[in-house]
Amino acid sequence: MSDFVKKLYSPLLFDCLFGLAGAVALTGVMADASRTYPAISPAAQPVAKSAALIGALLAAALMAILTARFDQKHADDFIFHTLTKSAFIAMFTTFFALALWQALFAANLGGVSSYATIGMLIASWSLSYFYTRVRGTRS
């Protein structure tokens, strides 16, 4: 492992990144609550929109696969397991939180924007990262 890559995957650097990202994401989610968004209008070309969405999904998936492969190759065992386990927890935390929101609060308090959804995902990844970092990958 080269010195640069070793430093790039240092646990302390990830601690700083997740701490910062979590704080920014939580602040963003709170700030987003007071913003108004225009309603999403129906697509003029629904087929083109669907095709573009699927294309974007496939391109993003390919990028994520390559990134995960790079991470697995260069990050050390503990950090890679911490990252993947916390990402898994964060994904389900966000799904469940959005489902709960939709079922209990959306009618009275309004919907959740896509920006807030991304903020929730990053914030929950940050929280679950620190939980896994402290309690270990077996927790």
Partner: protein, 65 residues
């Protein structure tokens, strides 16, 4: 999974950082394995076994009792 990494390291008077360097992992990874907060992957378990010149089952014990 229990392991005797800490004892083996102490027998050689290595610090966690020194062992981490020899295994090409972070010091935090060594600490997490020693405190049983993380089970190493098979490739890392083999590297540990090779470093201490012991079979894997002499270092790691998956007996729940």
């Amino acid at each position: 999974m229990k392991n005797s990494l800490k004892v083996l390291r102490a027998e050689r008077s290595w610090s966690q950082a020194e062992l981490a360097d020899r295994l090409n992992v972070s010091r935090q990874a060594v600490n997490a394995i020693e405190t049983s907060k993380h089970d190493p992957s098979l490739p890392l378990a083999f590297r540990i076994a090779r470093l201490f010149e012991l079979p894997i089952e002499a270092i790691f014990n998956d007996d729940p009792a």
